[in-house]
Amino acid sequence: DEVFPVVVNTWPFTNATKTAWNVLNNGGSALDAVEQGCKQCEIDQCDGTVGFGGSPDENGETTLDAMIMDGVTHDVGSVADLRRIKDAISVARSVMEHSSHTLIAGESATNYAIEMGFKEESLSTNHSKKIWEDWKNKNCQPNYRRNVSPDANKSCGPYKPTKSLRAATHKNKEPRFSKDISITNHD
């Protein structure tokens, strides 16, 4: 039996679901609901995994990725490694609606967003700075680098590639690190 409209999202981010539902109830489209629902999570900084002030990179900077897809037309808009712009999902929708591209990344995505009227501001917070400082104080652990010198399992960078890697077999390469993926650290 058909039970739409329906909103479903990963994780118990109920405020985002509620926002999307309200958009539908007010006559908005599925695209409107997805944009506003995800935007709510960006505002709420859901679990620290969405929006500004979370998941700092090795340099302590928070960057954002977002994507929106239209099931009717197969249109897609995405931004990746977006810097200093909070409204990632809305920039993604802008890419879909105001360009013929699918994905814009990095500093150029920031420039695109500014050109389209989005506000440039820092994505760091005292919380994200603390996360980064704690990581640095723990010798940069955990760490996604591998097959590098100095040993990324013990030391901070800068790193250089291990010279003998190309002669290594599949078995003696360092295994892929993913132990730190959890409810509060994920894509």
């Binding site: 909103v7 999202n9 960057t63 099931g71 999902i89 699918t102 132990k179």
Partner: protein
């Protein structure tokens, strides 16, 4: 990350994701979220799916696309999500991630691996409020 799929009152679908990625990532690293077919995927003729977890792995398997294509072949959403996850853990048994899937008529399901229990949010016209569902991994 949030990954979301919506079927509106006209039966039209949209999907999306938003994330700040993994803690302590190498600068410039991008996960699965902004990749269509990986972070999310929708097709009005079938349904949609959205993924969450270890994006470096998920973007190698396009699990959202896989789940939608499995539903196109007749699988229910839960089975489609489970199948997409199984294809990942065959290569990466330590993988942590989850997938939600929904058909164009509004039936939904989820599957996960490595999280213990995975919780996700749903609202449809038969519910009075947003409901948090859970699935064992």
């Amino acid at each position: 990350t949030i990954g979301m799929v919506v079927v509106d009152g006209n039966g039209n679908l949209a999907g999306g994701t938003s994330t700040n990625g993994a803690n302590h990532k190498v600068p410039g690293r991008v996960g699965d979220s902004p990749i269509a077919g990986a972070g999310a995927y929708v097709d009005n003729d079938v349904g949609g799916a959205a993924a969450t977890g270890d994006g470096d792995v998920m973007m190698r398997f396009l699990p959202s696309y896989q789940a939608v294509e499995s539903m196109r072949q007749g699988m229910d959403p839960t089975s489609a999500a489970q199948d997409a996850i199984k294809r990942i853990i065959r290569f990466y048994p330590q993988f942590s991630g989850a997938l939600v899937a929904i058909t164009k008529s509004g039936s939904y399901g989820a599957a996960c691996h490595g999280f213990g229990t995975f919780h996700y949010s749903v609202r449809n016209r038969n519910m009075q409020n947003v409901t948090v569902e859970e699935v064992p991994c």
